[in-house]
């Protein structure tokens, strides 16, 4: 099947066609761990404003793929071309300095465990302000103002700004991590199971918040999850992975409502109905 065709037929294709080239173009991305493969021959385009979900069981290579895309792991083959402000660049071959500059300006990474993405010994305001200071903000009042603004946007009370994340609940920590990542206005956000480890009512609120932010800021997102409800709510397009390979991709509703590949059928039918 050809994902491209579904995609051209979608209602939103109008605005996507306006963009001349994809924000992220991935070609033949392969990562091996010795004899085993992490992910193999993954190719896709991500267009500005699009949310791409990657689903699959544990060990299917989705986190490896995300790490390769975000530059945390060096892939063995393939290219990841990102549309930087200066034009398309292959992030696999660019220097580490450039890649890290991208990582703190145009990119953001939301970890599954907020402890991996936050500085637990630094106050909430300092956590949000770190990216601002990393790109050269040197006015305390302005940094604090932006931090307050973002805490409000992720529904954290302003009087918690000087508390450390340790004193926050799991859901608040995750929202703080999102604020910390979005404060510099990135264009591409990588999310690794952002709702994992949260209880369902907190998950629902977080998803609501994420959906609002994605739409409002026009973010492009690559979201890795094993929770089909999350991609149903957030993702425009879906990639299903098994054994390191992409077995099916297409519009989210199409894939979930009419799965073609045997594994996708199994995955969709495995969801518990309450």
């Amino acid at each position: 099947m050809n994902a491209r065709i579904f995609y051209e037929n979608s209602e939103t294709s109008q605005e996507f066609r306006c963009a001349e080239r994809p924000l992220l173009a991935v070609r033949g991305l392969t990562k091996r761990y010795g004899e085993r493969i992490g992910c193999a021959e993954v190719s896709f385009n991500l267009w500005p404003g699009e949310v791409l979900g990657i689903v699959g069981e544990s060990g299917s290579g989705k986190s490896t793929l995300l790490s390769c895309l975000a530059g945390h792991l060096a892939p063995d083959e393939g290219e990841v071309v990102f549309a930087t402000a200066e034009g398309p660049r292959d992030t696999v071959t660019m220097s580490e300095a450039e890649r890290r500059r991208l990582a703190r300006t145009d990119w953001a990474f939301v970890h599954q465990n907020p402890r991996d993405g936050l500085r637990m010994g630094v106050s909430a305001g300092g956590n949000v302000g770190e990216r601002l200071m990393a790109v050269g903000a040197r006015n305390y009042g302005a940094i604090r103002g932006r931090a307050l603004d973002w805490l409000e946007r992720v529904e954290i009370a302003a009087d918690r700004i000087d508390d450390r994340p340790r004193a926050f609940s799991g859901g608040m920590q995750q929202r703080l991590q999102i604020a910390r990542n979005l404060v510099t206005g990135p264009r591409l956000v990588f999310m690794d199971e952002p709702t994992g480890g949260l209880d369902v009512s907190v998950q629902a609120r977080l998803l609501d918040l994420l959906r609002g932010l994605v739409r409002e800021m026009g973010l492009s997102v690559i979201i890795v999850t094993h929770d089909l409800a999350v991609v149903r709510l957030l993702a425009d397009r879906l990639m299903v992975m098994k054994g390191g390979r992409v077995v099916e991709q297409g519009l989210t509703d199409q894939v979930l409502d009419d799965p073609r590949h045997a594994y996708t059928q199994l995955l969709v039918s495995s969801v518990l109905q309450v």
Partner: protein, 286 residues
């Protein structure tokens, strides 16, 4: 003279340390790893500074050792005796007469001159350490000039205390490149780091690092636009010599709440009193 090799260390070790020093001078603010030796004193007592001093010392040098500004405290006295015994060099307490000054956590008040060497004892040379515990990561951050984290520390200070409360060990940026830990000198001394005519060497024995500021290097203390760096000191004059421009120690004199402020630089204070300058308690206490 004694049975020790000149200045205790063997010649090959001194050459190794000199190579590290030269590299440090060539790249101001960069922490050069070196093979720190065991010294006959515990870590934390200036083993790094002693090794740097030993590598720089020549028989013609005049050595001064200070500990928190004072010539007569335990650390200063023991290191001075160590070099008298192992190198037989002349020692002095007068800043202007010394060619090498080993210091623990102060820069002398008397301005240094060209040709002098100031050797600092450094406990923890990595300014990013308390925010980022991984050595691999801090090295990468220095390499790529990712110093946003340093300002996070200052941000936390202002958020918690209303002002930048860091009063010693205040981070600086050297020639617009490396962020450097100036060893725990009070931030009052930070402006003296910049444009200093003397060669400044930093030795960390336990952490095995040497770094340097060549003469007349530009050194800027980090700050925020709306919370600028202030070189603070106690709002007093010295009670012995009346100096208003020197860094002061607070001394509690009895259990009635009386206290006095005295110059932490003992040589500076003594020179002023010898010139007839007297502070508030100068007559009685001295």
């Amino acid at each position: 003279m004694s049975d020790y090799n000149f200045a205790y260390l063997d010649e090959q070790t001194k050459r190794m340390i000199r190579r590290a020093i030269l590299k440090g001078v060539a790249i101001p603010g960069y922490q050069v790893p070196f093979a720190s030796r065991e010294m006959p004193m515990p870590y934390g007592w200036g083993t790094g500074g002693v090794q740097v001093t030993a590598a720089c010392l020549t028989p013609d040098d005049v050595l001064k050792v200070i500990d928190q500004g004072a010539d007569d405290t335990t650390n200063a006295v023991s290191i001075r005796r160590f070099f008298q015994k192992t190198a037989g060099v002349e020692v002095t307490e007068a800043t202007a007469e010394a060619t090498i000054i080993q210091t623990r956590h102060r820069i002398p008040e008397t301005p240094l001159t060209e040709g002098q060497i100031l050797v600092y004892q450094v406990p923890i040379p990595e300014p990013l350490r308390f925010l980022e515990p991984r050595e691999t990561e801090t090295r990468r951050m220095h390499e790529l000039e990712e110093y946003g984290l340093m300002h996070v520390k200052l941000y936390e200070d202002i958020a918690r205390h209303g002002t930048i409360a860091t009063s010693y060990d205040y981070p600086v940026r050297v020639e617009g490149r490396y962020v450097m830990d100036p060893s725990p000198i009070p931030k009052f001394d930070n402006p003296k780091l910049s444009g200093n005519p003397a060669l400044q060497l930093f030795g960390a024995g336990r952490e095995q690092r040497i770094y340097a500021l060549p003469p007349y290097t530009q050194v800027v203390s980090l700050d925020f636009e709306d919370h600028p760096f202030v070189a603070s000191k106690a709002e007093h004059d010295c009670d012995l010599c009346g100096a208003s421009d020197s860094y002061l120690d607070e001394v509690i004199t009895d259990d009635q709440g009386n206290r006095m402020f005295v110059c932490s630089d003992t040589d500076y204070c003594r020179t002023r009193r010898a010139a007839g300058l007297v502070g508030r308690l100068g007559g009685e206490a001295a």
